[in-house]
């Protein structure tokens, strides 16, 4: 931290005495964010750093301070360099033993995030190829006409750790070239050498580590067979007393994540072209890379029947995305703003291998399931290695579409309304259907609800300004609506769920804001937003001053 400050001071001093065509700007903000979690499900340890930051049913979920600083250096009109970093102080301690109490980074943990560190070169080839620009370094490339829910913006993965942000782009090192040959016609190419995974929320691992959740398989028959086998580990309800009797056996799931190898074959790249047709902005794009949220690819059952340890490995799904977008303003409707954005995803299929190391510890044997016609259920069988059926599918290779359609309008110059229809939420990936968590987490007999992997949502918000724009009252919400899987023509077993996000933003002075609000997750635990993996409702207080 001290070195950062000294470096900034040195840069500023150099700026004072450097060439006349050097322009240096310094900006940033200081903020605090305190949140209290309400009526969540506790997530037991082990927790990642910091240990004091455990998620209680009711308790402080954030106690952050952030200091963000950005340097913008221009050298003439041709070159620009931007550095943008943010120091986050957790506000919690990570103390586990006496030694950790002697370490400052355990007593007061922090991390440094770099949002940008790039060099811009405008008109790289001068008049030979006019308006050909190059940007190299750590950056974000936001594509898409929609607000926040951008199915064609895949170059940067998302930080999903803060639900209030609905996915904030994570900067990554890349090379970007833009060419604007004439008017509004643009061509963009981006190369990303190394994949950066998404940042998941602290509650997300419970979606995989909870052994009593339905397995994430497309085939519901095989999924039901696995669930049946897990019944050995479910507490039993005493029919006389109603008390839960532990099963006496344990099932633990460990999850490892396999990041893509840093090879040329695993580089990501993307192209986009944009233009204006009849006054409307249109764009066409292509992305080759991976989805930022990992998916289970294989599991090895180890230990013993009584102490079963399932070691699962997750991978990042490969995908190609062809994107289209359009945005404009409809004068006949009072200048209504609209946008349409859609991405056709062509994923690589992922099939999940399940292997048995309990009965054959030195020679992993695949567990396979076959449909028994007499019962209509899937049973575990042993095949000859040469006769193995295909492994169950986790991510289908079937192309699927994620889309956002929206519009905004201002009423009486004071109330701003924004409404979007979203097909496929930011964390959803893949065609087909999947089982939701059970309403009663320990009742294996309960049939879980089956929903399309890509849900449909209405996302809407209204802003009202008062007190000469000093006070902004904001209400934002998400409502999941019933979906139909286009392949099977099956409708969801629907249960209502949504989010309410009210805020009051008070500009107490220039560049100074106080915010008070809540983030309310609605729906039972079998629903998308009621699922404990999605987090819990929170109330928050924030303050920020910009400079």
């Amino acid at each position: 931290m001290r070195r950062l400050i000294l470096s900034c001071a040195l840069l500023l001093a150099l700026g004072q005495t450097a060439r006349a065509d050097v322009d240096l700007k310094f900006s940033g903000w200081i903020s605090s964010d305190i949140r209290f979690r309400v009526l969540g499900e506790e997530r037991p340890l082990p927790n990642p750093v910091p240990a004091q930051w455990s998620l209680l049913k009711n308790g402080f979920s954030r106690n952050e301070n952030r200091i963000r600083a950005a340097l913008n250096l221009k050298v003439g009109t041709k070159v620009r360099a931007v550095a943008d970093a943010e120091l986050q102080l957790y506000g919690f301690s990570d103390i586990r033993d006496i030694d950790s109490t002697t370490l400052r980074d355990r007593v007061d943990p922090y991390y440094l995030e770099v949002h940008a560190a790039f060099i811009d070169i405008n008109s790289l080839f001068g008049d030979v190829i006019p308006r050909f620009d190059l940007r190299i370094g750590r950056q974000t490339v936001p594509w898409g006409a929609a607000d926040k829910f951008n199915p064609i913006s895949n170059i940067n993965t998302l930080d999903l750790s803060d639900p209030l942000q609905f996915g904030r782009m994570l900067a990554n090192n890349m090379i970007r070239a833009d060419w604007n040959p004439i008017g509004d016609l643009t061509f963009t190419a981006v190369l990303i050498p190394i994949f950066r995974p998404a940042q998941l929320p602290r509650t997300a691992p419970s979606a995989l580590l909870d052994p009593l959740r339905p397995a994430p398989l497309q085939n519901q028959g095989i999924r039901a067979a696995l669930d049946q086998e897990r019944g050995l580990y479910v507490p039993i309800v005493d029919p006389n007393t109603g008390v839960l009797i532990p099963s006496g056996r344990s099932l633990t799931i460990q999850a490892d994540v396999l990041a893509p190898e840093i090879t040329a074959a695993n580089m990501q790249f993307a192209f986009r072209t944009g233009a204006k047709i009849a006054g409307q902005d249109v764009g066409l794009s292509y992305y080759h890379g991976r989805f930022g949220v990992p998916t289970p690819a294989w599991s090895v059952v180890t230990g013993s029947v009584d102490k079963n340890v399932v070691q699962t490995t997750l991978v990042y799904p490969k995908t190609d995305v062809i994107g289209v977008e359009m945005a404009g303003s409809i004068q006949r409707l009072g200048g209504l703003g609209y946008w349409i954005e859609a991405g056709v995803n062509i994923p690589a299929e992922i099939r999940m291998g399940i292997y048995d190391a309990i009965t054959s510890p030195g020679n992993l044997r695949p567990l396979e399931y076959q449909l028994d016609p007499s019962t209509g259920k899937y049973l575990r069988v042993t095949f000859n290695p040469s006769d193995l059926p295909p492994r169950p599918v986790v991510v289908e290779g079937t192309p699927f579409v994620k889309a956002t359609i929206g519009a905004d309008y201002t009423i009486a110059g004071r109330a701003y309304i924004n409404v979007q229809y979203v097909h496929g939420f930011i964390d959803e990936f893949g065609a087909g259907r999947a089982a939701r968590p059970r309403r009663n987490s320990i009742d294996i007999r309960e049939d879980p609800r089956i929903e399309s992997r890509l849900g449909d949502y209405i996302v809407a918000g209204v802003d009202v300004k008062t007190l000469h724009d000093r006070l902004l009252l904001r209400l934002f919400g998400v409502l999941k609506v019933p979906s139909v899987d286009l392949e099977t023509r099956l409708w969801d077993d629907y249960a209502p769920t949504g989010v309410l996000f009210p805020q009051i933003i008070w500009t107490v002075a220039d560049a100074t804001e106080l915010m008070l609000g809540g983030f309310v997750l609605l729906g039972d635990r079998s629903t998308k937003f009621g699922d404990p993996a999605a987090g819990a409702s929170e109330i928050f207080v924030k303050a920020r001053v910009s400079f």
């Binding site: 811009d120 405008n122 609209y338 946008w339 802003d463 724009d469 220039d510 910009s546």
Partner: protein, 261 residues
């Protein structure tokens, strides 16, 4: 999800419309000996409002409230009547934001808080006030007054000629009537009162401290807007710097220019 200032994109652009025309005005031809008609005077005002090919303006807007004064600083580049690129300089929470108008129907906002995303903005946002100021869209977007309003001579006040303007049939405006004080020597507007249909005064705009910012060009150094509907709430628009006919090209009014300059 939304930066609160994206909601005010349209009005910031509209800040640059009509007043920019007022900033750069060439001295008129010497008035004819015969009394000038209201139509002729208004036509001269409109001609002089469009007397430049392009312009650069650096403004400071002061929003005067009971709790104090809020200041917003911005620069505007303009080419003709339609192309406009605006950048905020202060306060810090809006610094770096930019807006581009390629025409009356095509506008974009540059959003630093969202990774410098360029967002197409619906023209409905022109109806919003900017940061609680008293600047409205109608007086900002009217470059040529004569096509909208029919003038009538209504006397003199000192060296100023008073015009009463009535909205022409078939035209739409927030203000059905205007009362305008014009300096016939320079064809500059010294004051406008915005009236409702019954003649009740709703707003007043005064233009002060005219200076010559280029040979033969006069610009008001200060404009004061008073909204009588909001307890005489006032906004001052102070011109810090202006230059005209800078030789701007169309390249400087594109989405690329919005993100890279």
């Amino acid at each position: 999800m939304f930066n609160k200032y994206t909601l005010s994109a349209g009005l910031l652009l509209s800040l640059s419309l009509a007043p920019l025309a007022a900033w750069a005005q060439q001295p008129p031809a010497a008035p004819a000996a015969a009394p000038e008609s209201a139509d002729a005077l208004l036509a001269r005002v409109d001609r002089q409002n469009n007397a430049f090919k392009d312009a650069f303006f650096h403004f400071k807007m002061r929003i005067i409230e009971s709790s104090g004064v809020r200041e917003v600083e911005f620069e505007t580049k303009q080419k003709g009547n339609q192309k406009r690129l605006v950048r905020f300089l202060a306060p810090a929470d809006v610094k770096g934001m930019g807006f581009l108008s390629e025409s009356a129907e095509v506008m974009y906002a540059l959003l630093p808080a969202f990774g410098n995303r360029v967002r197409r903005v619906g023209t409905h946002q022109m109806s919003q006030s900017f940061m609680g100021s008293d600047l409205s869209t109608s007086d900002m977007s009217v470059i040529d007054i004569a096509p909208l309003y029919a003038p009538k001579l209504a006397g003199t006040e000192g060296n100023l000629t008073i015009l009463e303007l009535t909205l022409r049939p078939g035209k739409e405006s927030e203000y059905p009537k205007l009362k305008m004080w014009v300096d016939p020597a320079k064809a500059t507007i010294a004051k406008i009162e915005y009236l409702d249909a019954s003649g009740k005064k709703l707003r007043t705009a005064e233009r002060l401290n005219f200076t010559e910012d280029a040979p033969g060009h006069f610009s008001p150094g200060k404009m004061v807007y008073t909204d009588h509907r909001r307890g005489n709430h006032q906004t001052e628009l102070i011109l810090i710097k202006s230059t005209v006919n800078n030789g701007y090209t169309d390249d400087q009014f594109t989405q690329r220019a919005l993100t890279r300059e």
